[in-house]
Point group: C2
Chain length 161, copies 2
């Protein structure tokens, strides 16, 4: 397995802290669980997450014309997949995800459990999906999960009936 001393991985300040957050751990677990052909087996966690960080210059360079790149759609799937798993772990109930993305890179992702919408997020600029740092990735994911858990706590009958 590659380590953080690998030249391909240049950790930023706060990355270690971010890698230790429950959300990032969940995301890494999601990615490893979906590695059906073992192509990511030899990569360390930081390498697995490298493509989630996109600098402002890189973002600007990505064209927003044409269908979003399959790589970006995979990352979007992984990110919201991890959000779903994290909600399930924290709340102790099953959650369904429904995601609609147009060719223009707009859409919506919904997490529901029975009759309750636990999280609804509008997606924009999907072509350029990414976070400036791992810390920001961890923060955004954690915030979404926290919000969904609060909604479940606010409507316990509806979520669990």
């Amino acid at each position: 397995m590659a380590t953080l001393s690998d030249p391909a991985v240049t950790p930023a300040v706060g990355d270690d802290k971010a890698l230790a957050t429950p959300f990032i751990k969940c995301l890494v677990r999601w990615i490893r669980a979906h590695d059906f052909y073992g192509s990511r087996e030899n990569k360390c966690d930081a390498q697995l997450l490298a493509k989630f960080t996109v600098t402002e210059e890189q973002r600007r360079a990505i064209p927003i014309i044409g269908d979003p790149d399959p790589d970006v759609l995979w990352r979007l799937d992984a990110f919201y997949g991890a959000v779903g798993v994290a909600i399930e772990e924290r709340a102790g109930l099953l959650v369904s995800r429904t995601m609609e993305i147009s060719h223009e890179g707009c859409g919506r992702v919904l997490f529901t459990t029975r009759r309750l919408v636990v999280l609804s997020k509008t997606l924009r600029d999907v072509h350029r999906f990414g976070f400036s740092t791992l810390r920001k990735l961890a923060k955004t994911g954690t915030k979404l999960v926290n919000h969904a858990v609060e909604v479940i706590q606010a409507y316990p009958d509806l979520a669990r009936e």
Copy 2:
């Protein structure tokens, strides 16, 4: 405007009754409202709906390999668009639709209002989407709308708070 005596339109028994149902009227209105280029302006209602009826033989002849046909996706969009509009009219509130369809023709459509899931339907065999008769189309749409309205009535606080 073409009439029902047009040879291209061969009404089946019960079609007149089906065309008069609120759901079919809603579907026709949806189709006419989305006719941005006026290409359907000269068609009568029965002609507009002709492609929604697929006989058992026709269904069997449609391949389910490859992406669903854009025509079928348009019909799916129209059908569930009309379901959404009919729910809004009956319940007097705004409803959002989120639809996810995989390349294999499976997926899910969700209608939500605020925190409430008013209708959730699994989609299968999207490649072959259609109804054996207009009557069946009217019945299926009406049933979905009735179900959603019942859910809204069962959770009035959640739907309207």
